[in-house]
């Protein structure tokens, strides 16, 4: 696979300077900082479910964190809140020095597009678009010139070894290939952070290994990553494993010191 892409040079600068409160801003070496994140979902008129119950989490620049925990533990909710797809009920969140919880709702799509890359379990490619068109979708929303977008998209698909699949529709690609397209799409805006929700959940072991090696390679080049997974093998690629239960972080470990049971 090509190594020509510098994944560290993310393009979120266009969003303006960091405006967090003095004295409370996270340290410069943190790409992500969450404090007291709470997420409540209303249930009927009087009740609510606490999906997150005060989560504190930091990720250093270039860090690779795996979020593990049983179903309903709040992993995906936390990922959605970090990814600005969902808003926390309480707490504060900084990404790349910017306090996201202070941003107006209308700015969130720009922030999401420029700072965050998503990889999903079900690949989530647009079925009517071919591989290249899927990859350049964020650039289209950014308003990038078509030729430049095509160039970048092609480069990324070459990087994930899909140079011969540029014009294939998702239905014409294997699961592993689709996930590689999704990775290329996540990288196309050179995001500050990639959020992957069960990226190997629908893949066989060979494809899973390929995908995790690809993500690990990106991380080694400086890309910050958070991966939600049930799979200890997938989690083993991370430098930190954070375990959640009932909306709280209950445990944290370094796989290098304490490898997860496979």
């Amino acid at each position: 696979m090509s190594e020509g892409i510098d994944t560290r040079a993310h393009s979120g600068q266009g969003l303006g300077p960091f405006t967090g409160e003095e004295g409370k801003a996270p340290a410069d070496d943190l790409i992500l900082s969450a404090r007291g994140l709470v997420k409540r979902y209303p249930m009927g008129t009087d009740n609510c479910v606490n999906a997150l119950r005060g989560v504190d989490l930091d990720l250093r620049r270039g860090g690779f964190l795996a979020l593990m925990g049983p179903s309903g533990s709040g992993k995906s909710t936390l990922l959605n809140v970090i990814g600005t797809l969902d808003q926390p009920s309480e707490g504060r969140l900084w990404l790349d020095g910017r306090e996201l919880t202070e941003e107006p709702h209308s700015r969130l799509p720009d922030i999401r597009r420029r700072l965050i890359g998503f990889i999903f379990q079900g690949f989530n490619l647009i079925p009517s678009l071919n591989a290249l068109e899927n990859v350049v979708l964020p650039l289209r929303y950014e308003g990038s010139p078509k030729s430049e977008a095509r160039r970048q998209g092609t480069e990324l698909l070459e990087m994930v070894a899909l140079a011969d699949r540029l014009h294939h529709l998702p239905t014409e690609l294997s699961g592993g290939e689709q996930q590689r397209v999704a990775i290329a799409r996540a990288l196309v805006m050179k995001p500050a952070l990639i959020l992957a929700d069960e990226p190997t959940g629908e893949l066989d072991s060979t494809s899973s290994r390929l995908i995790m090696e690809l993500l690990s390679g990106l991380n080694q080049k400086g890309q910050s990553l958070i991966v939600v997974t049930h799979d200890p093998t997938t989690a083993a690629y991370a430098e930190r494993i954070v375990r959640m239960r009932d909306g709280l972080i209950v445990d944290e470990e370094d796989p290098a010191e304490d490898p997860p049971a496979v």
Binding site: N80, L85, F118, S128, L129, L137, P138, E142
Partner: protein, 383 residues
């Protein structure tokens, strides 16, 4: 092109919706080109008669009454009158045959062939494309409109049979797409002789069915008309009266067009809304993905409104094309009978296509808003 590809994903549904719009725009095109023909005739009539005063016998003009030609001299004696031309109108064909004919009857206008009148009507657009126009002193000569010439197979030099009398065709009028295409012009005396044969009870042949009065430059024609109106036996119609009378006739056609457009809006619009709502429901997950990769509200709105507008435009283009072709075929079939029913104008073509585009886009607003307001997390969870 993504919107086109999205339509192709649901071919049958898209085709049915497009068909719905096409029917509406087809009706709009056909009715519209008929109304355009009427508007053209009205416009032509106003050009032809709108700058003069039409005077009729008090008992009713055309075939409803006569007055002596001497009325013309009384009118010409009034201040502000440049000249007045008596005319006698007769049917080109047999009155019995005309009873069941479709469209406006072919009429022959017999006018006093003064030099002033000959010059004036040619200025107003009665130009010959073949042969010559009538001249003072002409008798037994006739100039025919192009549709009438086609219908009766007439050319310069041939003989035209008006009721029972034969006329030499001296000129064919240039096609104006107006009422004069179906008319013919001859001398007053010739028309009077036909009238005398047609109405044997007439005691004198020196009658007219109307007088056309032309004012001096700068004369107030409406005021002049009211003065003429005070003369015995006559009823004068001012240009303003004529205008409002003719234009009120077009209201009905405009109402028909409006009605057709309304049906197109309701049927086509509802069908686009229905299709797009289904499309939004089916593509909920896609909307979630697009939101996740940074699509803003306006991107989602533009996508769905664009798709709806495309449905509208394709339907509009189809309906317009079929409608236009049909009007061409019908015009071609009926041209021989001297009846041209439809006129396609650039404004109608542009109107039909723009209307379909806007109809689609407006119908797409509600489904697009539903799509744009979707919660991305819930959208991503949908199957």
């Amino acid at each position: 092109m993504e919107p086109l590809r999205n339509l192709r994903r649901r071919k049958l549904r898209a085709a049915l919706t497009i068909f719905g719009i096409a029917i509406g725009i087809f009706a709009f095109t056909v009715m519209g080109s008929m109304a355009e023909k009427i508007n053209q005739l009205v416009g032509g009539a106003l050009d032809f008669w709108g700058e003069s005063i039409s005077v009729e016998p008090e008992s009713g003009g055309g075939f409803g009454g006569f007055f002596p030609v001497s009325v013309t001299e009384q009118i010409e004696a009034l201040d502000g009158v440049d000249f007045a031309t008596p005319s006698a109108i007769v049917l080109f064909g047999n009155p019995e045959d005309q009873a069941f004919s479709f469209g406006a009857p072919n009429l022959v206008f017999g006018n006093r062939l003064s030099q002033a009148w000959v010059e004036r009507v040619q200025e107003q657009g009665l130009e010959v494309v073949e042969g010559r126009f009538l001249q003072p002193g002409d008798r037994g000569k006739i100039v025919v409109g192009s549709d009438l010439a086609d219908k009766e197979d007439l050319e310069v030099g041939s003989t035209a049979l008006v009721q029972t009398r034969e006329f030499e065709v001296v000129g064919i009028l240039q096609r104006s797409l107006q009422f004069t295409d179906a008319f013919a012009f001859t001398s007053l005396e010739d028309a009077q002789e036909i009238l005398a044969e047609q109405f044997p009870l007439l005691t004198t042949s020196d009658v007219a069915t109307g007088v056309q009065v032309y004012g001096e430059p700068g004369a107030d024609l409406d005021q002049l008309a009211s003065r003429i109106d005070q003369l015995p036996q006559v009823r004068a119609e001012s240009p303003e009266e004529l205008r409002s009378q003719i234009e009120s006739g077009t209201v009905i056609f405009n109402l028909i067009i409006f009605g057709v457009a309304l049906v197109a809006i309701v049927v086509g619009g509802l069908s686009v809304i229905n299709t797009m709502i289904m499309s939004v429901s089916e593509r909920t997950r896609e909307i979630g993905i697009k939101r996740a990769v940074g699509a803003k509200t306006r991107h989602i709105l533009a996508e769905y409104i664009g798709e709806a507008a495309l449905i509208g435009f394709i339907g509009g283009l189809t309906g317009f094309a079929v409608g236009w072709i049909l009007t061409l075929i019908i015009n071609d079939q009926t041209r021989d009978t001297g009846t041209v029913l439809f006129t396609m104008t650039p404004r109608l073509a542009l109107g039909a296509l723009l209307f379909s585009l806007v109809l689609g886009a407006v119908a797409g607003i509600y489904p697009a808003l539903r799509a744009a307001r979707m919660n991305p997390v819930q959208a991503l969870r949908s199957m």
